[in-house]
């Protein structure tokens, strides 16, 4: 252990590649970089295997064509772009749809087990917005199978995993390259200076900026803000996905996810009048329309007074019967039985949209996942570009695999061809340690949990799935008022496993991300995918040609650029002409 002479000591750990986040993307990146013979460290805020990936239920989208032989990458490509309302980075989508099948087979090679077809192949189920049955799955616990497989594969390598460790800042050297990070262990508050030649952000999303979300406490957007602070560009930040079906009752489980697999297996949505209302919103795809459409339908039915007693709509899967449900959706059965006293084989579920996923994130190179900041890479939900204005269900798990691997290889390539120094000026370390400890040392100040709650309520009220200028502006005012109070948070107790102190760090991320979302949502004055402005009618063709790119400007304020989406090459645009 190496320490310096300042007031608070720290350890130094050196790796070629430091990966922040141990969900699907982080672990897949770790496996890729370790396979290239590099020293890899993975930092996780939680224990290994608890990342939000574990909550993915429905499946991994990959055009294997096992059930519907006509499926191929081309159809998956078109489905993904149509769902994303063509804001997607088409180059990422092409890579993604072509590579997803191999990434699924690779999991099988590592011991993952999917449900089988009669021919003994991986079975695939229908899902919203996918033309063919495309989601490889194991019951309704596909994410668990995936993270366990990646976790066990990682533990079989020399990758070093730092569990329950939180990164607070990225360090850059004199040349402006990212060369490490400061972190503390949650158990004791001990500081670690990670020296690394490359850093991969795989920190997931930021659903915790909302009051009702399917996300765990971890989804606070740390990675996105740390990258933004380091000068990275962000893309499509206004795009937040509301999953159409979250639980509504009892209050403690409000927002908990009800898998789209329920609709994939034939689940039907009805309002309090017994009407199968999806006929009015998307008569062709019905319940299997894209998430943005179904979420708005559910929201509209309830706000127009056709909701259930607890403010939801009804989702009915009783036609499968007890045995069918236990085979296809056992987790859902248990979840409703245990938490809501509902037997879903006998009666319908009450559901309402819940914040689930963010399409926006750190802008990356489609091939290597490198950001505009040298030495910094990103993958998974924390990165943006693949999903455009709305993500298709099942595309996130394959996203983690395809771009997790590419980020690991991209970082490995970068490290091998560069010999930059990871040394930084020690004053950077001291300043950051001091900042992190301030909430404990301050005599008195704001309660971090209260600030967190105020952000969550403001975003819930003003940046929900229907938006308008007045409401967004009001939300922005509230967020800016909270932001001003963040430097004055006070945490009780010591550095020993102290959630109050940890929350004091998180509120900075919550306010920063919320401010960015509100500012970009104000600029996208149209109805497109997840961004639904009630004060504008329909999509705006001009806005359909651009992404909003966010970058911290020289004054430290949010800089927003309208960047044109490059035209699709002929071999891709032709697909739409033919199909």
């Amino acid at each position: 252990m190496e320490t310096n002479g300042s007031r608070y000591s720290h350890e130094v750990r050196e790796h070629d590649v430091l990966i922040i986040g141990a969900g699907g993307a982080g672990l897949r990146a770790a496996i890729a970089a370790t396979e290239r013979g590099l020293s890899v460290g993975v930092v996780s805020k939680s224990l290994l295997g608890k990342a939000h990936t574990v909550m993915a239920e429905g499946g991994v989208a990959a055009a294997l064509g096992n059930v519907d032989p006509d499926d191929g990458w081309q159809t998956h490509f078109m489905d993904t772009l149509r769902s994303g309302k063509f804001l997607n980075n088409w180059q990422m989508v092409e890579t993604f749809t072509k590579e997803a099948p191999d990434r699924v087979y690779e999991l099988e090679q590592w011991g993952a087990l999917f449900n089988r077809t009669e021919e003994g192949k991986i079975s695939q189920r229908a899902f919203g917005g996918h033309t063919y049955r495309r989601l490889c799955h194991v019951g309704d616990r596909t994410g668990l199978e995936m993270i366990r497989t990646l976790q066990e594969r990682t533990l079989a390598t020399d990758t070093r995993v730092y569990m329950e460790t939180t990164v607070t800042r990225l360090f850059k050297n004199d040349e402006g390259r990212v060369v490490g990070a400061l972190a503390y262990t949650r158990e004791s508050g001990r500081f670690i200076h990670f020296k690394a030649k490359a850093v991969i952000m795989a920190t997931g999303g930021w659903g915790r900026i909302y009051k009702v979300t399917s996300n765990s406490w971890e989804g606070t957007g740390d990675g996105c803000v740390l990258a933004y602070d380091a000068g990275a560009e962000l893309v499509d930040m206004e795009m937040v996905q509301f999953h159409p079906t979250g639980m509504v009752w009892p209050p403690g489980v409000r927002g908990l996810l009800v898998t789209e697999g329920v609709r994939g297996e034939g689940g039907v949505l009805r309002n309090s009048e017994g009407e199968r209302y999806m006929e009015n919103y998307d008569p062709e795809k019905m319940e299997l329309s894209t998430r943005d459409v179904v979420a708005r339908a559910n929201y509209t039915e309830v706000t127009e007074g056709r909701g259930s007693p607890h403010g939801g709509v009804y989702l009915d899967i009783t036609h499968l019967g007890y045995n069918g449900i236990m085979k296809k959706l056992p987790t859902m059965y248990e979840q409703f039985k245990n938490l809501a006293d509902i037997d879903i084989s006998q009666e319908p579920m009450e559901v309402f949209p819940t914040i689930h996923y963010v399409m926006g994130g750190i802008k990356v190179d489609p091939e290597t996942c490198e950001t505009n900041v040298p030495g910094l890479f990103a993958a998974g939900e924390s990165a943006g570009g693949l999903h455009g204005a709305n993500r298709l269900g099942g595309n996130s798990l394959s996203d983690l695999l395809v771009f997790g691997r590419r980020a690991g290889e991209g970082a490995a390539e970068y490290v091998k061809s560069n010999g930059y120094s990871t040394e930084i000026d020690s004053s950077q370390l001291d300043t950051e340690k001091q900042r992190v400890l301030e909430p404990l040392e301050r005599q008195d100040g704001e309660n971090p949990y209260e600030l967190q709650q105020q952000v969550q309520e403001a975003m819930m009220e003003h940046a929900n799935l229907m938006r308008n200028e007045d409401s967004l502006r009001e939300g922005l005012e509230k967020i800016l008022a909270v932001k001003e109070r963040v430097p004055n948070v006070k945490a009780q107790g010591s550095t020993l496993f102290n959630p109050g102190w940890h929350t004091a760090q998180d509120v900075r991320y919550l306010t920063q991300i919320s401010e960015i979302i509100l500012c970009t949502a104000l600029q996208r004055t149209e109805q497109r995918g997840a961004q639904w402005r009630l004060d504008y009618d329909g999509p705006d063709d001009e806005l359909g040609k651009i992404n909003f790119i966010v970058k911290k400007d020289e004054q430290g304020e949010i800089g927003i650029e309208r960047r044109e989406i490059p035209p699709m090459p002929e071999h891709l645009s032709r697909l739409f002409d033919e199909g």
Binding site: L47, H52, L113, R116, R153, L339
Partner: protein, 292 residues
């Protein structure tokens, strides 16, 4: 202003009101009096129970109660949680001496009783409800991983893999480890891998495409399966209903017995090294490429 415009304006106004989502349809309304909770507060040096009173909300689980205390009364109260849906296995602790997932245990279940929440006892306490479970990951690292000599995609039929689904449901809450007396009472952590590990070894051993053998690891190596005297405590606490004793441990014990106590196989092993029961291939004495 034309009629047309006027109508649009009115529509606009009505629609616009929906851009303000209702966030205050509140928990407070669902409060049904108050409840009390005794929570262990302390660390490796020691500690004691502290009683908290809070509003009882309909359908509330113990984790909700603990998080309420954390947000309103004791900001530094340590508890692990993630998904809040019994999928991730983070919030394991002991309620009235029994291992429970805090997110799956309703407060109403304890009506008329005390609720005393403590950390898991089979592991060292870090602080409050958080114990140090890192030992489980060391055991996992020592386990012989999946290995196949075939190239995926595999052809496997439902009937070949059906029995693998159950052990693969494990959410690693480690409550089976917590309740297992070999660990909890006899502290055999250095030589016994525990029920969680046997569950994983079961699917690995039964996977039709896996070529490794873990029998030696289970018997003579890190596994220490002989210590288990099948009292089924682990099965009783499993939150995802894995029949750990019947479906994981007993079949593995049978495999060990076949390999070690069949005289012909014993002699063969002495002469030729160990033979994989699945593939008939001879594997190395240690069998584990990654170190045991």
């Amino acid at each position: 202003m034309s009629n047309e415009d006027g109508r649009q304006d009115a529509e606009q106004k009505e629609m616009a009101s929906k851009a303000y989502a209702d966030v205050h349809q509140d928990e407070e309304e669902a409060a049904k009096g108050t409840t009390r909770l005794k929570i262990f507060r302390g660390d490796a040096e020691g500690g004691s129970e502290v009683e908290y009173e809070l509003p009882l909300i309909e359908g509330m689980v113990v984790l909700d109660a603990v998080l309420y205390v954390q947000a309103h009364q004791a900001g530094d109260l340590a508890v692990r949680w993630n998904c809040k849906a019994a999928h991730c296995g983070s919030c394991s602790a002991e309620i009235n001496g029994k291992p429970k997932l805090l997110c799956k245990t309703r407060v109403e279940e304890y009506e008329g009783q005390e609720i005393r929440v403590h950390p898991m006892r089979a592991f060292p306490v870090i602080k409050d409800l958080v114990s140090d479970v890192s030992w489980n990951y060391e055991v996992a690292r020592s386990t012989i991983p999946f290995q196949s000599d075939e190239q995926a995609p595999f052809i496997m039929y439902e009937e070949d893999v059906e029995r693998l689904y159950e052990p693969k449901k494990c959410i690693e809450c480690f409550m089976c480890q917590d309740v297992c007396h070999v660990l909890r009472t006899h502290h055999k952590h250095p030589e016994f891998a525990g029920p969680r590990s046997f569950v994983r070894n079961q699917w690995l051993e039964m996977h039709p495409k896996d070529i490794e053998s873990r029998v030696e690891w289970l018997k003579e190596g890190r596994g220490g399966i002989g210590y288990c005297n099948i009292t089924k405590c682990c099965t009783e606490v499993c939150p995802v209903d894995i029949h750990i004793t019947d479906n994981s441990i007993i079949p593995l014990k049978e495999r060990v017995a076949d390999e070690y106590y069949d005289p012909a196989k014993w002699l063969m092993r002495k002469i030729r090294g160990r033979r994989s029961p699945k593939t008939g291939q001879i594997v190395g004495r240690n069998g584990n490429r990654n170190g045991g």
